[in-house]
Chain length 109, copies 2
């Protein structure tokens, strides 16, 4: 797993590679077809590995504002992201739910 900090940065080991500046996320070198929101959510989560992020934090970074009280957008996008990641990486559970708090990205599943 790698998050590119420049278009040249990448780690050799991981299967998932994220290149924010290229608007791309690759699994085994093949690009996932993510929408803008999905990609930004993935980037945000992956930028803080192992850290539990609240919906407010995620919404702030991806949407750039505060969610209204009952906003489920983050949930919906996490769901879609999981679906696409799960298809490319069936064996890994990268995004973990923390009930009552938020989500956590774990690079190693």
């Amino acid at each position: 797993m790698a998050i590119g900090t420049g278009s040249s940065s990448q780690l050799p080991a991981g299967r998932l590679e994220i290149r924010p500046e290229e608007h791309a996320a690759l699994v085994d070198g093949r690009p996932l077809s993510l929408t803008m929101r999905e990609l930004q959510l993935l980037i945000t989560l992956a930028s803080h590995p192992q850290r539990i992020m609240t919906r407010e934090e995620l919404f702030a970074e991806v949407w750039g504002s505060e969610p209204r009280r009952e906003d489920r957008s983050v949930d919906v996008y996490v769901s879609r992201l999981r679906a696409k990641l799960g298809q490319a990486l069936p064996d890994l559970q990268l995004i973990h739910t923390h009930n009552g708090i938020g989500y956590r990205f774990s690079p190693d599943g």
Copy 2:
């Protein structure tokens, strides 16, 4: 045992580490899966080591209100907390009962 005051603060020696701002409690680096109430109760207890805290104090800090007369919620959550802590740290008795008064958190068992 360490209670993080910022996401960087941590003591090297202890096995239990609490990071309130990350909504996490770790034993030997591995996160306990605590619910919100359980975590808040642990944080509250651990924030006042060696101090006997009454049910009223604990309830006030965790629930943010006053318990009704016969409320046993604190007891129930202490029980659950002990169960989860006891599984991760079988040799330590971190939460002590003070009959007729309340509970006390002792970092060293």
